[in-house]
Amino acid sequence: MTSQIGAETGVEAGVRAPAGTGARTPLLVGAGLLLAVAAPFALYPVFLMKVLCFALFACAFNLLIGFAGLMSFGHAAFFGTAAYVAAHAAKAWALPPELAVLAATLVAAALGLVFGAIAIRRQGIYFAMITLALSQMIYFLALQLPFTHGEDGIQAVPRGMLFGVIDLMDPLAMYYSVLAVFLAGFALVWRAVNSPFGQVLKAIRENEPRAISLGYRTERYKLLAFVLSAALAGLAGATKALVFQLASLTDVTWQMSGEVVLMTLLGGMGTLFGPVVGAALVVTLESYLAATSLPVPVVIGCIFVVCVLVFRRGIVGELLARWPK
């Protein structure tokens, strides 16, 4: 599936790019996949799974800000709601993991439809503030509804048997399942960005009135992008709930919305791999700085300041800009 998409984009990219790069693409995709497959033997699987979940979350966010130019400051609502729904479905209703994740993703998409319908009527800071306000409502619900158990969260969620046959308690089985979810989500983002739909989104990002004058019903495109982004954020949140076997208030706080902005900006907004790199960087810092005497938020804050001052396009954005043509 992935190679097929790679081939398609290779053709598309070939139209715009100088010849010669196309042949390298499958090779590099293969190398990247190989690395992802081999990684759990070198690194701790739970850590890698966390990176993948946050990478998918950041990709979902990036789809909105990087390609449609919509700055949402409420993405934690989708991430967290899906985590709660998946955790509750797996624990209280004893649903198998695939159905729990599916249900959670659908709930996140539905929530995205409601949020999107309200928020896309405004642009810029107003859009960001509306999404923030709506996500704070979700936070309040998560704090107060009995099934979420307030700040204790839903704990000891069973991972269950995937499709009734694969025992997800096995770390490697869980890792490859998460990797598959991530690749599917990433492929969807890739496909969306490199489709006519993606081109229209970019047109809206660059100049919305012109896109309207060309006859596009921009609000529909924006709403679809919003729902897609919410659903993918939900997919990431639901997967995370199964990986850590818990859903907690951390997932719905506005800080989580801020964290995904940070990941995307650090990695490179509007690039496909930027959010992945950004998520990997932030999660790594959070994990490995924890055991040092350095205060984690201060270090991440400093890195963010440096990023904004020195390399505003983010790590991947900067690499792409300086890469020899």
């Binding site: 984009t9 990247g32 070198a42 204790d152 890739w190 818990l246 790199v277 205060p295």
Partner: protein, 401 residues
């Protein structure tokens, strides 16, 4: 842009590998204690940073080694995020050969680590989280709860104060921690024949308590009970002083308060406050000497959970020595068998549900002019025996043993 995307995949992968700084530590040649706590967040001062000092003190007091192996302390910042705590706990237990995890100053974190430890049959000794379910539905054969639960702290205060004051007003922070403090107090009040004249719920981190305080004043109640924590308690106390709550004949009790917070408040706001603590540094000369030693090293007085951390590490090491092994099941059996005895806890024991049993102290903040030194800030109202403070084993706790 797209054509370079795969290159970036490789770059991302390399970054991941490069960042894998935490190499596996060889287990077996040392006994490793993991301290998982808030080291940079809002509760870092009241818990995490001092717990590192307290845990190291316990290791030093024990002699620095057990069974001929050096004792190592690893400290990690959970940043109040259960998933960070959960990743760290898994890595510690599975890869780094950590024998016991303590700390966990956040109920969500404590519950997450408890689930992981139970699954692996590893020792967790919680000196931070106060969720009642840690010795209820979430109790574990290898888990111990050192800190007092919401039920024990709030219930004890309510039981003692309600002997004289029969009309109460609850000011509760509107989330489950506050509500469980309130519920514990209300349950005791009802059984003692006291009445609850009113309940006001305020959001977390409230800056303005005026409307809640006016409600409390007009309720006619004689006691204002603060079922909140941290900054909310401090703000409520300051504003209660400005509104003249005490002058209008009400007394104030804190259902979750720490002695170290007294100095953070002006005299008029805090004097006469009644609360319950698991650690009373003026209990005897040993406790006072320990608190002084802690203050010399840390530059601040020890909080209850910091004291509990010291006690938990020391008792764990004693049990390892007695068991002659670090095998979880055997160490836990020893921890339950040998009595708890140290300068912090005094004398206590560990019950079958993992509850550490010790006396609780109902205290009253002294007015500043009556204080004679940095350690002289409270007077003891009543010592409540362990059985009375902690009550019977929860029926929700099912241990297969």
């Amino acid at each position: 842009m797209t054509k370079r995307a795969p290159t970036m995949a490789v770059a991302a992968g390399c970054l991941l590998l490069a960042c894998a700084g935490g190499t596996a530590r060889a287990a077996g040649d040392s006994v490793i204690i993991g301290l998982l706590d808030d080291l940079s967040g809002p509760t870092a001062d009241l818990s995490g940073k001092g717990k590192v000092v307290a845990a190291q003190m316990a290791i030093d007091d024990f002699g620095g080694s057990v069974l001929g192996k050096p004792v190592k302390l690893l400290a990690s910042d959970h940043q109040n995020k259960p998933e960070i705590a959960s990743t760290q706990a898994r890595e510690w237990y599975d890869r780094d050969g950590v024998d016991m995890i303590t700390g966990m100053s956040n109920s969500a974190v404590a519950l997450a680590v408890r689930a992981i430890a139970r699954e692996r049959g590893k020792v967790d000794v919680i000196a931070g989280g106060t969720a009642d379910s840690l010795v209820g539905a979430d109790c574990s054969p290898t888990g111990i709860l050192w800190t007092a639960t919401a039920r024990a702290i709030a219930g004890t205060t309510a039981a003692v104060v309600s002997q004289t004051e029969k009309s109460w007003f609850m000011l509760t922070v509107d989330y489950s921690g506050g509500k469980s403090l309130e519920a514990a107090a209300v349950e005791v009040l009802k059984s003692k024949g006291a009445t609850v004249a009113g309940i006001a719920r305020h959001p977390f981190n409230t800056a303005d308590f005026s409307s809640f305080l006016l409600q409390a004043q007009s309720s006619g109640a004689k006691v204002l009970a603060l079922s909140n924590t941290g900054n909310d308690t401090l703000t409520a106390l300051k504003q209660a002083n400005e509104f003249g709550i005490r002058e209008s004949g009400m007394s104030i009790v804190g259902l979750y308060f720490d002695t170290t917070q007294i100095r953070a408040l002006e005299d008029a706001a805090v004097k006469g406050l009644i609360y319950t603590s698991s650690f009373f540094w003026n209990r005897d000369a040993q406790a006072t000497a320990w608190a002084k030693r802690f203050m010399d090293q840390r530059g601040a007085l020890p909080s209850q959970s910091q004291a509990a951390t010291y006690s938990s590490v020391l008792h764990y090491l004693k049990a390892v020595k007695a068991a002659g092994t670090t095998d979880s099941a055997k160490v836990i059996a020893e921890m339950r068998r040998i009595p708890v005895e140290d300068p912090v806890t005094g004398k206590g024991w560990i019950r079958e549900d993992g509850r550490v049993m010790y006396d609780m102290y109902v205290m009253k903040a002294k007015p500043r002019e009556a204080m004679t030194g940095p350690l002289d800030v409270v007077e003891l109202v009543k010592t409540v025996p362990a059985d009375e403070a902690f009550g019977p084993v929860s029926t929700e706790c099912h241990l297969k043993s």
